[in-house]
Symmetry: C2
Subunit: 209 residues, 2 copies
């Protein structure tokens, strides 16, 4: 079971690492970190992750996990990446995205006519790809699963793990990564955060990405 | 505000990336990824993150975040790393760990006489460092904060963000990373998971790390 996570400059680290930390624990899983080139890719604040293979090296993964990031806007103009996503989806068992990774699925024509989600600040962008924006945290449409901003990839991946390997294995993975979340505040969605927090989160500082 | 995250071979990616994704968004934050050498370090399943500086390059960070991983046991025997942690703690404002990173704090003598936590499978190991094992997800003792397994670093870092920059900024970061967790199961702690899931999570397969 080959799981491909394509990297591009200024992707968001947690978008990619959250699902990775769940999915590599599936029996028979092999995660492939790929990029236009096999080289390090910088996240949106300096940290670099290494794509150990090129997109061409992994043309037909079973599972596709597309992360978002501040670099998504530039990546949308990278025809090679978008075309690779389109081709990979044609033969994948599951096609998934985290955060603004959904926009890359959209650019590849995968979301046309589907319900989908992305980071709350980019929900309006989904319509241009023919998708119907949905505020659920994890949105499944057949083999396509999109999830909300950044941290939602953990929830998405556990949902996917249950589909692939059954609820027991998914629950064991959830316990293994001790995912019993206890956020100190209840402001993790726009529906829950008060207006002054929403405004602060939209300003360029202190949360630029 | 310099935030150092020391890497070692076979650390767990999410242990490090969860706090990173929160803390880099703090006003004035600069995250330093450090290692015994400035080179890529492999996580416990292949993915590589780059330490862009050596331990010696960052001798006195304001904040220390020590990740865990399957490589922790070997790292405990790395006197240079343990000594660096001890020295960094001597001048840090905050010293923190995720998962078995707590054992490295312990080896550095930082947990003696403190309440502390770690991954549920390693709680018994805390006693050898003079720490009192505590099953809370995030345990603060003065400037020392330890957190539970793998995913708990997100909760730890948001708690720390509030201490450093106030609740509004922490809440805005939580919204920015859309941390409104909705795990598909309620099996993320040993207190909640049924016996057969606990057994499955303890077996080498399907969740080897």
């Amino acid at each position: 079971m080959e799981i491909a996570i394509p990297l591009y400059d200024r992707f968001t680290a947690l978008d990619a690492v959250g699902p990775y930390e769940v999915l590599w624990r599936l029996p028979g899983a092999r995660v492939r970190w790929v990029g236009a080139e096999a080289r390090p890719y910088a996240t949106d604040r300096g940290l670099q992750l290494i794509a150990e293979a090129t997109l061409d090296d992994v043309p037909a993964p079973d599972i596709l996990v597309v992360p978002g990031g501040t670099g998504t806007r530039d990546a949308l103009g990278d025809e090679r990446l978008v075309e690779w996503i389109r081709a990979a989806d044609a033969t994948s068992t599951w096609t998934t995205s985290v955060c603004t990774g959904a926009l890359l699925l959209g650019a590849a024509g995968i979301l046309d006519g589907l319900h989908a989600t992305t980071h709350w600040a980019y929900m309006d962008d989904l319509a241009r790809y023919g998708a119907e924006a949905t505020s659920d945290r994890v949105v499944r449409q057949g083999k396509v699963i999109t999830s909300a901003g950044v941290s939602s990839g953990i929830d998405m991946a556990l949902t996917l793990a249950a589909e692939i390997a059954g609820a027991d294995v998914a629950q064991a993975i959830q316990l293994r990564i001790e995912y019993d979340p206890m956020p100190p505040f209840d402001t993790g969605s726009t529906a829950k955060a008060p207006a002054h927090i929403r405004e602060l989160a939209q300003s360029p500082s202190p949360t630029p990405a």
